[in-house]
Subunit: 259 residues, 2 copies
DNA sequence: GAGTGGTCTAGACCACGAA
DNA sequence: TCGTGGTCTAGACCACTCG
């Protein structure tokens, strides 16, 4: 029953099938959003067993060409236009104009942006956050967790952490909507004038939780960005921890050729 | 012969096996570099068929916990310390001190850095490069392609593109080793004083070619970074296109809270 | 209920690596 | 040569989705 010609051909059958389907996708024979043939159909068409077809389909899934839904089928992915995140997005001028950074950005990229505040309240500072805020690990800080969407699909999840002594006199920081210009505008109004930001960028595969939260397929990459907001006085008054679907974002930075 | 209890338990068997092995790895029962039990061994130990074991092992591979070598076995991956890339790494002071950027960096992270020049010569400018250099698509530019290693393992592959009229009078730019301070030092000596850099950061899964070049496992994420070097005169005199193994790098940026 | 993907079996043969 | 992983078969039953 087994087949002896498994790997005797130049390429594995499952790979040939995957390549064939991939080229149909790239040439537009299978358009974005279209369903690819069912596994039963593919078994018959290529004359192989179910396992082989499944492996081919799995290949297309890991290369992000399709997404599959249990009980419905597999569908060609449509790649939404990317959103750019520029280091200019925190310009004070934007804040004074009453625009939050994410809005100033998302508007440029076509989609309808929206935010969902998931949590606002005190938490014990996790280790990496505490270090950056220069407070003891486990001490009380304000966390603001929200999820960003574009055209209804989640793209990004961000949690801001602020030292308790900084926010305790700023009631707006506890509100779902901190008002025009966002948190940074409120901080500046209360004497915390922002001098610079630092951002730390990593890329990795999404965890299971992130896969669920951002509606990713398993094995999708994410960009993990951690930003410190630093005042004139040299104090870190906010750490923002962000996880983004990697295929949705491009980050832009500009920096001088310093001496 | 088939098993009806496939998904009737809370979790799939292959997932349970994967989780079991993963916890053994994380608790150190299986140390970095150690071989995990062979598939035959796992089949017997867990009382499942080969396909199930293989799926469990595949799971560990995509979560980057192990790497497998045909004919030898699967081994627990040792995660090398990450290398940081800071936006400070192009400080002019470094160049004057004769240090190339990559050396100044890699030295801080412990490993022994090395470079392999893969190609130096004229090429037709690809589209995205030509746009950035502001030259016609397909016109002649100098390409310098090299691969970076740390402790002998490849981490990064970079290609620099420079306009032909800029490099034609700078013989060092055609040499494998452009001399102390690198290409940027040579450019500055010839009147192209660098004013600023822009970097564009993307993350995605590695292509097959990148998987091979950087010795990655399939499905590994990479960071794709494109940098423009811009002179006082506002001209882009170099575009550097870099692909990095995502698990080896952290990018650091610093930027002012501009008005 | 019909159709889809998801898990699993119990084998087979092939290709690679090390002894 | 022998043990390893890689590919493949020809089925089975289960879970999800939709009409």
């Amino acid at each position: 029953m087994a087949s002896g010609e498994a790997a005797s051909t130049a390429k594995a059958k499952y790979q040939q099938i995957a390549d064939d389907l991939a080229s149909q996708i790239r040439t537009g024979v299978l358009a974005p959003g279209a369903a690819i043939p069912s596994e039963a159909e593919l078994m018959e068409r290529y004359g192989v067993a179910s396992g082989t077809v499944r492996k081919a389909v799995a290949e297309l899934r890991t290369t992000q060409l399709i997404e599959t839904h249990h009980g419905r089928g597999s569908f060609v992915r449509s790649r939404p236009p990317v959103q750019r995140k520029s280091s200019d997005r925190f310009r004070r001028a934007h804040r004074l104009a009453g625009k939050a950074a994410y809005l100033a950005e998302a508007e440029q990229s076509g989609g309808k942006p929206s935010v969902n505040v998931l949590f606002v309240g005190p938490v014990d500072a996790p280790e990496e956050i505490a270090e950056r805020l220069n407070v003891p690990v486990g001490s009380k800080v304000l966390a603001r967790k929200r999820r960003y969407f574009r055209d209804g699909t989640p793209t990004e999840e961000a949690t801001s952490y602020l030292p308790w002594d900084v926010v305790k006199d700023i009631p707006e920081t506890f509100a779902e909507n901190p008002g025009g210009g966002g948190i940074y505008a409120r901080l500046e109004e209360h004497g915390h004038r922002l001098a610079e930001f630092t951002e730390t960028v990593r890329a990795r595969l999404a965890t299971k939780a992130e896969t669920a939260a951002l509606a990713l397929s398993p094995g999708s990459p994410v960009i993990h960005l951690v930003r410190d907001a630093i005042t004139d006085a040299g104090r870190v008054v906010e750490v923002c921890d962000t996880v983004m679907a990697a295929d949705q974002f491009v980050l832009d930075y500009r920096f001088p050729a310093r001496d």
